[in-house]
């Protein structure tokens, strides 16, 4: 019982919220592209350049928030490249996404060498991390439970506030509706005079925005450093979550909390002397298991969706050319 208390306590839940934030942000970003009918495997790379340029911006300007802005700008540039190639040039989404991920990995390492002359990681150099927000009155209100709502970096709050906002966005705003229509029934979107191209561009850029924030959280949040490939597959886990949540913000949140918990819990296990190599596999194993288990459960739906997406594919191929010429 004592061991259980040591394993699961307020600190673990707070750690779960911290580790959930980056994957939640990147998955919510991916929900835009998922809803718009684009399979975006490039999240990983967008997150990585976000993390790198956040550190660079933070060093150059001396301000954490300017750093975040730099990170977001870099992720947006990658998202734009993705949109140009996938939406305008109609290249294969998987190929473009993977290539952009590889580009992000190589580019960040090359730039690190060029700017700092080092390999591996950027530590020090005057990186300014994000401040922690202390919510006034939290201590008085919740006592020892206060760490659950107070003392996180601003990006963590942004991540969790984004969930209800996205629910509203998809259900209550015109753009949200457009994105869903373009993803689910492009032919209907076309008939309504919605520009599929424009909506998919917007969805990709919104995705880049959140992926950049997620990256900035990695490098300026709780540790202020950049290491090679520091996104370490979180973008891919986000894609796994998006596949079984279909991009619905609340389901995304549930999936991300599971991963955040797995992440935080595995760090705990490490301190109990389990071999670190095995412990580190936990989040990936959880992601795979969830992906397989849920695809088994959802099989009739998947078949239906596959048929729908094939119809969609065919109709887009045949019909979208005139739409391209005539946006709105």
């Amino acid at each position: 019982m004592e061991i259980l208390d040591k394993l699961i306590n307020v600190a673990l839940i707070a750690a779960t919220l911290r580790t959930t934030a980056p994957i939640l942000l990147v998955a919510l970003g991916g929900s835009f592209t998922t809803k718009a009918g684009i399979f975006n495997i490039g999240l990983e790379g967008q997150m990585l350049v976000g993390a790198f340029f956040a550190v660079i911006g933070s060093i150059w300007t001396g301000s954490a928030f300017a750093g975040v802005a730099c990170g977001v700008a870099a992720a947006l540039a990658f998202a734009l490249a993705f949109a140009v190639l996938v939406v305008t040039f109609r290249a294969n989404e998987v190929v473009v996404g993977l290539a952009l991920n590889i580009l992000a990995g190589g580019m960040t390492i090359s730039l690190m060498k060029a700017i700092f002359g080092t390999r591996g990681s950027i530590v020090g150099h005057g990186i300014v991390g994000l401040p922690k927000v202390q919510i006034p009155g939290a201590q008085a209100l919740l006592g020892s439970w206060a760490p659950l709502i107070s003392g996180f970096t601003p990006i963590v709050y942004v991540a969790f506030i984004a969930v209800p906002l996205l629910v509203l966005f998809y259900n209550r705003t015109r753009l949200g509706l457009y994105i869903r229509v373009v993803g689910e029934k492009p032919e209907a979107a076309e008939a309504l005079g919605i520009s599929i191209t424009r909506v998919r561009y917007i969805a990709s850029l919104l995705c880049g925005l959140l992926a950049g924030l997620a990256g900035a959280h990695l490098s300026l949040g709780y540790i202020t450093m950049f290491t090679e490939n520091m996104s370490s597959g979180r973008g891919f886990m986000a894609v796994a979550i998006l596949i079984f949540s279909n991009g619905d913000p609340l389901k995304v949140l549930a999936g991300c909390l599971l991963f955040g918990f797995a992440d935080a819990f595995s760090l705990r296990l490490q301190t109990f002397g389990f071999p670190s190599y095995l412990v580190l596999t936990v989040p990936y194993v959880v992601a795979l298991t969830a992906l397989f288990a849920l695809s088994y459960r959802a099989r009739p739906k998947i078949i239906k969706e596959t048929l729908a997406s094939m119809q969609k594919l065919l109709s887009v191929d045949r019909n979208s050319a005139p739409v391209d010429k005539n946006p709105q």
């Binding site: 399979f39 495997i41 490249a81 190639l85 305008t88 040039f89 109609r90 290249a91 294969n92 998987v94 190929v95 473009v96 993977l98 290539a99 952009l100 590889i102 580009l103 990995g105 190589g106 580019m107 390492i109 090359s110 730039l111 690190m112 060498k113 060029a114 390999r119 370490s232 597959g233 891919f236 886990m237 894609v239 796994a240 596949i243 071999p275 190599y277 095995l278 580190l280 596999t281 990936y284 194993v285 992601a287 795979l288 992906l291 397989f292 695809s295 088994y296 099989r299 998947i302 078949i303 596959t306 191929d317």
Partner: protein, 346 residues
């Protein structure tokens, strides 16, 4: 024939555009593109040892590329070649240092286990892809991370060489893949890769099974009406692709390192996938693209010594090549829409 000529010239133009973009990035990191190019060429082809070094780097890329081709032909993205390579490499090393067998048989046994390990590693993603249509891109990518960590665990916690640093004991000399020249570690693994590429190309070209795979990849409905069991074939295609990925790891272990070590072959799986994509899923064309990427890798070793650029600059160039090849679709669509639409759909 003119179609093929156009396809090849399109690929060459795309590579040219990518190299141009690469030159701009090299300027941005404060190095001269000409100097980088000359260094790369010198590092890849400077003398006979350098050429052998290039071929040495080409070998795993080629075998991984063939693995990717098998998947791409059947409409499957096996992005998990990296993981299959690691498990295959470890399995071959394990046979190499745990058993003592006659020379030759030892090598074959080690390669056989590498193949089995690679296929086994992709079996679960392949099963769920075939049966429940679970996206194989994501499941194989995620399994890469597990494979790398798992082989590190085996190496460091279960089979560490006493006194060594994160490596297994060396394999017995009976399990070595023999070297071709005395001046290089280049070994007969290259011949395995070349035979494999040609063999797979022949299977795709001349057997009804190969034709069925290509049909499933390019027109699944048609293949299904034609009597192909699409699900079973998808499963088999991914298993074969994984098996070849495992073989790549075995060849690398038995031919080059003679032991398994942590991070023993970083990135070969992805390089192979890129080589296969650039070759448009053709195993024979993959020989050329793998040689190209092998030369880049081999040349990049000198890059770090002679210039201020990092060797990852070649990763950037590779990614740019694939991006510009994928962008060709638009350019192609103007003149002849059929060819443009077909690209990357295999």
């Amino acid at each position: 024939m003119s179609d093929r000529l156009r396809a090849v010239s399109g690929q060459v133009i795309a590579v040219g555009v990518a190299l141009l973009l690469g030159a701009i990035i090299i300027l941005m990191v404060g190095e001269s593109p000409v100097r980088v190019l000359m260094t790369l060429l010198r590092g890849a082809f400077g003398d006979q040892e350098k050429i052998a070094g290039t071929l040495l780097q080409t070998t795993p890329i080629l075998i991984c590329g063939v693995a990717a081709c098998i998947g791409l032909r059947g409409g499957m993205f096996n992005v998990g070649i990296e993981g299959q390579l690691f498990l295959g490499g470890f399995a071959a090393a394990w046979v190499g240092f745990s058993f003592s067998l006659p020379a030759g048989i030892h090598t074959l046994a080690a390669l056989a286990l590498a193949i089995v390990a690679g296929a086994a590693w992709v079996a679960i993603p392949a099963y769920f892809r075939a049966r429940y249509n679970t996206n194989e891109v994501v499941s194989t990518i995620l399994s890469n991370y597990i494979a790398v960590l798992l082989t590190s665990y085996f190496t460091i916690f279960l089979f560490k060489r006493p006194g060594g640093w994160s490596e297994t004991p060396p394999i017995l000399a009976t399990a070595y893949l023999p070297e071709i020249f005395s001046f290089s570690r280049l070994n007969w693994g290259l011949a395995i890769g070349l035979l494999l590429a040609v063999g797979v190309a022949l299977v795709f070209r001349y057997t009804s099974w190969g034709y069925g795979v290509t049909m499933v990849g390019s027109a699944p409905k048609f293949a299904e009406y034609g009597g192909v069991n699409v699900k079973r074939q998808g499963f088999i295609v991914l298993l074969l692709s994984g098996a070849v990925g495992g073989l790549a790891g075995g060849v690398e272990t038995l031919g080059v390192h003679h032991r398994f070590m942590e991070g023993f072959a970083p990135g070969f799986g992805f390089d192979g996938l890129i080589a296969a994509l650039l070759a448009n899923g053709s195993p024979v064309a993959t020989i050329v693209t793998a040689l190209f990427f092998g030369a880049l890798r081999s040349g990049s070793l000198l890059l770090e010594v002679d210039t201020s650029a990092s060797r990852e600059i070649i990763t950037v160039i590779q990614a740019l090549i694939i991006l510009s090849v994928s962008a060709q679709v638009l350019i192609r669509r103007r003149g002849d829409s059929q060819a443009g639409e077909r690209r990357w759909k295999f």
